[in-house]
């Protein structure tokens, strides 16, 4: 049993098309089987609503009088990119406002613009004979600009990972707040409702496919950046007219201590042209697997403790290394479902028709890592011998060691060489001034440490964020194996 786009569109026109959301399709196929589904169902709708950091918009403001060619411009204090023609710009959602960073960013500008709020435009220019104006400071709404085009080079990830944190400190990431020692897990992607998961071989999804984007109509204009179909991490490059969209499906967001981004609502209709597509759109959350990734290891290739299905993830707990870990999504299933249902309604009401792609997406490309000229350096390459004193020794002994070694940091250990604390020459001076003579009372016991396999950049970030200048290097048993200080990093 096969159908054509023309046959399906004819049914839509006549109000006879059978349209199901991807969630409904799972139940339909379970009840009636693939063959019946392929014959009876015409379209399956999908949806996703999650943070998509690549999002942004091209805007054209029209010409000022006298004309200006922007060199720099800001929208509500968010720097927009200007490398094109005089009064065009691209506002990216992760760019943060100069005055309220970590609160307001490019995604919030786009949300406010779509909501009809006035946006302040400030810009300057080095001036030319044809563009003599040096500065502009005005406010405008979406109705007062020419084009406002949402244009996102990488959206709608086929699936995304589930993030956990094995380290001993809370991490603030684009996957949200990750509590230490596998304290929680965050995952993204809409599972069985995810657009690309329903057509994983891109039979019907390609350049020119008409889609739901931000509450309006959008189009796929190519493969997304980092498109990696071989391991089922396909992505889409999409565009759409912001003037038709709704702020309900375009939301500026901020991830604590990470930065700003934007939630985008995106849905794709899948025409059920054959049994293969009926089968693919009937995959349930239990069939869709993703990797659990340990963000506690700050490297490109992070450890992946296990694979997990979206069914398990949606249950709210997963097991990692014997521990029951609470998990929650980052993207909204409620809105993903609403998007799939809205598209279903549009099609049933004859407002939305399906079209074959002008070109299909590549299925064999791979996402390659960055070529770097310099070799990554690790703590083990640059650490030096630590000056160590025993926890029970006298303060005077530590003072003598500081003088003898000409070092500022002395590591304090027990009989087994296990780290007990750290003491600096300033601590010793303070102890003498304060008439203290017990070493245990003056050492810093909560010590920030490094391991051999930390990269130098990670060690530098630990020193910077804790305002310290040295890290004892320890092994898995907390035994001291060296020290790294800011001197080695310079």
């Amino acid at each position: 049993m096969t159908k054509t786009y023309a046959e399906i569109n004819e049914k839509i026109k006549n109000g006879d098309a059978v349209v199901l959301t991807a969630a409904e399709m799972v139940d339909f196929v379970e009840e009636k089987g693939i063959e019946v589904a392929a014959e009876e169902v015409d379209v399956v709708t999908t949806g996703t609503f999650g943070p998509m950091c690549s999002s942004g918009a091209f805007l054209n403001f029209g010409h000022s009088d006298p004309p200006i060619k922007f060199e720099h411009l800001w929208l509500n204090d968010v720097h927009a990119y200007h490398g094109g023609a005089a009064v065009d710009c691209y506002i990216g959602c992760t760019r943060m406002a100069d005055v309220r960073p970590f609160e307001y960013g490019g995604g919030h500008v786009i949300e406010d613009l779509v909501a009809g709020k006035p946006i302040r435009l400030r810009g300057n220019s080095y001036t030319t004979d044809c563009y003599p104006l040096a500065e502009v400071d005005t406010t405008l709404t979406i109705d007062e600009i020419n084009q406002a085009i949402l244009c996102n080079p990488r959206n709608a990830y086929q699936r995304y990972v589930c993030a956990v944190n094995s380290s001993n400190k809370t991490l603030y990431t684009y996957m949200g707040k990750l509590l230490p020692r596998y304290g929680n897990a965050h995952f993204a992607g809409a599972g069985a409702l995810s657009p690309l998961s329903n057509d994983p071989d891109y039979e019907t999804i390609g350049i020119g496919t008409r889609i739901f984007l931000g509450g309006g109509i959008g189009y796929i204009i190519g493969e997304g950046t980092q498109h990696s179909p071989k391991n089922r991490f396909g992505t889409l490059f999409v565009k759409g007219d912001l003037k038709q969209m709704s702020e309900e499906y375009l939301r500026g967001v901020t991830y604590e201590k990470y930065g700003t981004s934007m939630f985008i609502g995106l849905g794709i209709p899948i025409p059920i042209l054959n049994e293969g597509l009926a089968k693919k759109t009937a995959l349930s959350d239990a069939n869709l697997l993703t990797d659990v990734v340990d963000y506690g290891i700050p490297r490109r290739d992070r450890p992946k403790p296990r694979q997990v299905s979206y069914k398990e993830l949606k249950n709210g707990y997963i097991e990692i290394k014997g521990k029951k870990v609470k998990c929650s999504p980052l993207s909204s299933f409620h809105h993903a479902k609403k998007i799939a249902e809205t598209m279903k309604k549009w099609i049933q009401e004859g407002k939305f028709f399906l079209n074959p792609p002008a070109e299909t997406l590549p299925t064999d490309t791979v996402f390659t890592p960055m070529k770097q000229k310099s070799q990554i350096k690790f703590v083990k390459d640059l650490k030096r011998k630590a000056e160590i004193c025993h926890i029970d020794c006298e303060i005077r002994t530590v003072a003598e060691r500081i003088i003898k070694s000409n070092r500022n940091h002395i590591i304090i250990t027990d009989n087994e060489n296990v780290l007990k604390g750290i003491v600096t020459s300033f601590d010793i001076t303070k102890a003498i001034a304060g008439d203290k003579d017990i070493l245990r009372e003056i050492i810093t016991k909560r010590v920030i440490t490094a391991t051999d396999n930390d990269s130098i950049d990670v060690a530098a970030r630990k020193m910077k964020s804790n305002e310290i200048s040295a890290l004892p290097v320890i092994d898995d048993n907390k035994k001291v194996i060296g020290i790294i200080t800011s001197e080695e990093l310079i």
Binding site: G176, V253, E256, F263, K326, S328, P329, S332, F333, H334
Partner: protein
């Protein structure tokens, strides 16, 4: 934290659920429709959810 009240602004909330995994007491949870709900009785006011909301919908009052 014990004397403060946590409140959720549902106008700002987008039901993403990112606060839910931080709440070990299940005071913040997603209901059958995947909408966020807050059960004040279960809340121990640990404060982990504050500042974690991407929409600043969770605040103390």
């Amino acid at each position: 934290m014990t004397d403060v009240k946590v409140s959720v602004d549902y106008e700002l909330c987008i039901d993403c659920g990112s606060c839910v995994s931080l709440c070990q007491e299940d005071a913040l949870y997603l209901n059958n429709e995947w909408r966020l709900e807050y059960d004040e009785e279960k809340c121990t006011k640990c404060g982990l959810c504050l500042d974690s909301c991407p929409r600043f919908a969770i605040s103390k009052s």
